[in-house]
C-alpha cells in the first residue's frame, strides 16, 4: 500500500514527463521509472522546486530550463574501454569476422560524451580497420554530442582509461592519441575524421544505417522493457546479416522479445550476432 502523498508524487512525475514530451518532444515516458525519478529529484533540487508540479511549471514556461534538465534526464557516466574484457573479446573474436568485409559501418548508439566511440576508433586503428570504416555516433542529448565531437576529457580520468586500454589488449600507447593541456586530455582529431555525429532517438527515430557492428552499452538499462524491445528491433533491422550487437556487462537479451533473432556470440561477454 502506498501513502496518499506517494500516490500524488507518482502522478506528478507522470505529468511532468508527459509535459516534457508534449511541449518539447523529448520522450522519457518509457524510461525506467525508478532511476528516472531519482534523476528528476536531483533536477528538482537543482532548480529549487518544492514538487514535480512546480518543476513542470518551470520547464513549461522557461525555455532555458529544458536543456539543463536534459542533463539530468540522460545518464552520462562512462569511461574509455569500460569493461576491458568486452573490448578484448571484440578484438580477438569479432575483428577477424569484420576483416572479411571491404567496408564497415559501426553504430555507437547513445554515445554520450564519446568515451565508447574513441575506444572503438582506437581499437579499429590498431587492428588496421579504421580506413575502411565509417562510425555513426548518435545521442539524443546535443550537449553530450558536442562533448563527443570535442573529445576532451578530464586529465584525472586518463590513468583509468590507460589501464583499461592495456587490459583490452591495446597494441599502442594511449598517450599516442591525446595531448594534455590545461587539465584536459584532447584526443587527436584524426580519430574522428571517419565519424558522423548525429542527433538520433531510440524512442522515436527509425533505422539509422546498415551496420556491421552496433554498440549500445549501458543505455538500455534505463529503458522499460517495451522501449528496450523497440531499440533492439531497430538494431536488428539496422544490422547486416550476421552483424554484431555489443551490450553492457549486465545487459542481456534474456527478457527481450527479440531474443530468438540473435545468438550469444561470446560466452562471457555480451556480444550477440544477428541470426539471419
Amino acid at each position: 500500500m502506498k501513502t496518499p502523498s506517494a500516490e500524488t508524487e507518482d502522478l506528478e512525475l507522470r505529468l511532468l514527463v508527459e509535459a516534457v514530451f508534449q511541449r518539447y518532444h523529448y520522450d522519457f515516458r518509457d524510461y525506467s521509472t525508478a532511476s528516472l525519478k531519482r534523476r528528476l529529484l536531483q533536477a528538482r533540487e537543482r532548480f529549487q522546486c518544492a514538487s514535480f508540479s512546480a518543476l513542470q511549471e518551470r520547464v513549461l514556461h522557461d525555455p532555458e530550463v529544458l536543456p539543463r534538465m536534459l542533463g539530468y534526464l540522460t545518464v552520462q557516466v562512462s569511461e574509455m574501454f569500460r569493461d576491458p574484457s568486452f573490448f578484448l573479446a571484440l578484438r580477438e573474436q569479432v575483428v577477424p569476422h569484420l576483416r572479411t568485409y571491404p567496408s564497415l559501418k559501426v553504430w555507437v548508439a547513445g554515445c554520450s560524451a564519446g568515451e565508447e566511440l574513441y575506444s572503438l576508433a582506437i581499437l579499429f586503428r590498431e587492428e588496421g580497420l579504421e580506413e575502411r570504416t565509417i562510425f555513426y555516433a548518435t545521442d539524443i542529448n546535443t550537449d553530450a554530442l558536442r562533448k563527443a565531437e570535442a573529445g576532451v576529457y578530464d586529465i584525472d580520468r586518463i590513468a583509468l582509461f590507460t589501464a583499461n586500454h592495456r587490459l583490452a589488449g591495446g597494441k599502442s600507447s594511449l598517450s599516442d592519441y591525446y595531448t594534455a593541456a590545461y587539465g584536459g586530455a584532447a584526443f587527436d582529431k584524426s580519430l574522428r575524421k571517419r565519424v558522423v555525429f548525429s542527433d538520433h532517438s531510440l524512442v522515436s527515430d527509425a533505422v539509422f544505417a546498415e551496420a556491421h557492428l552496433v554498440c549500445c552499452r549501458n543505455v538500455m538499462i534505463y529503458f522499460k522493457r517495451t522501449l528496450q524491445d523497440r531499440a533492439v528491433g531497430l538494431f536488428r533491422d539496422s544490422l547486416v546479416r550476421k552483424g554484431f550487437l555489443g551490450l553492457g556487462a549486465k545487459e542481456s537479451l534474456h527478457f527481450s522479445a527479440h531474443a530468438a533473432e540473435f545468438r550469444q556470440f561470446t560466452p562471457n561477454e555480451r556480444i550477440y550476432q544477428k541470426s539471419a
Partner: protein
C-alpha cells in the same frame, strides 16, 4: 478490477524485504539466509558493498548454502518470492513500480555503487507499507536515508543492534536517522523474517 487495464498498478498485498550491509556482511547473511525455507513467500533484494572491479562470487556462495534461490540481479528481471537478488558489483539495483529489478550505472552515492539508499528508496516507492528494510553490519552510513524512506512509506524498519555488529557505524547511523526502527539481534531478525513477516501477508 482488471489487472490488464492497470498493468503498472501494484497490488495491495505486494510485499518484499530489502537488506543492506557492508563490512562483515557475508558472515551476517550466512547466519540469516540459510534459515529461510525453500517456499519462503517473500522476495529479498540485497545490497552488499563489494570491490567494484571483481566478478562477484557471493551469490553462488550463498546459493549453495541456502534453500531459497540466491542469484545476482539481472536488468528488468521479474521479482519472484523465495528468491534473494544481490546487486551486481558496480551497479545500483533499483525496484520498478511494475515489480521488476532494474540496474543503473549512475554515479556512486556516498562513494557506494551499489548504494543501499538507492535500493531502499526505490523499493519504498514500489512496495510502500509492504516493505521491510533491514540494515546490518557496516562501516559507513549508507542505508540510513533509505531506511528512513522505508518508514516514511509505512514499511517496517529493522536494524542489527550495534553492539552485536562486526562494524557498528552503519547500524548506528540507521538508528539515528530512523527513530521508528527496531534494533534486533541477528537471531531476532531471522525470527522476524521466518515467522512475523510471512504471517502479516
Amino acid at each position: 478490477m482488471s489487472r490488464d487495464l492497470f498493468p503498472d498498478r501494484p497490488q495491495a498485498a505486494a510485499a518484499a524485504v530489502v537488506i543492506g550491509a557492508s563490512a562483515g556482511a557475508v558472515e551476517a547473511l550466512i547466519r540469516i539466509l540459510p534459515e529461510l525455507p525453500e517456499d519462503y513467500p517473500l522476495p529479498l533484494m540485497i545490497v552488499v558493498h563489494l570491490p567494484p572491479d571483481r566478478e562477484s562470487t557471493l551469490a553462488a556462495l550463498l546459493n549453495t548454502r541456502c534453500r531459497i534461490t540466491v542469484k545476482e540481479a539481472e536488468d528488468k528481471e521479474p521479482i519472484r518470492p523465495g528468491t534473494a537478488y544481490l546487486a551486481p558489483p558496480d551497479y545500483h539495483l533499483l525496484i520498478e513500480p511494475e515489480f521488476l529489478l532494474s540496474l543503473s550505472n549512475e554515479e556512486p552515492v556516498l562513494y557506494s555503487r551499489p548504494s543501499i539508499d538507492v535500493l531502499f528508496e526505490s523499493a519504498a516507492d514500489a512496495y510502500g507499507s509492504g516493505l521491510t528494510g533491514i540494515i546490518l553490519t557496516g562501516a559507513n552510513s549508507d542505508g540510513a536515508r533509505g531506511l528512513r524512506a522505508v518508514r516514511a512509506a509505512g514499511g517496517l524498519a529493522l536494524v542489527q543492534i550495534p553492539e552485536e555488529a562486526d562494524a557498528d557505524t552503519m547500524p548506528r547511523a540507521a538508528l539515528a536517522a530512523c527513530p521508528g526502527a527496531r534494533a534486533l539481534t541477528l537471531a531476532q531478525i531471522t525470527g522476524a523474517l521466518k515467522t512475523e513477516l510471512p504471517r502479516a501477508l
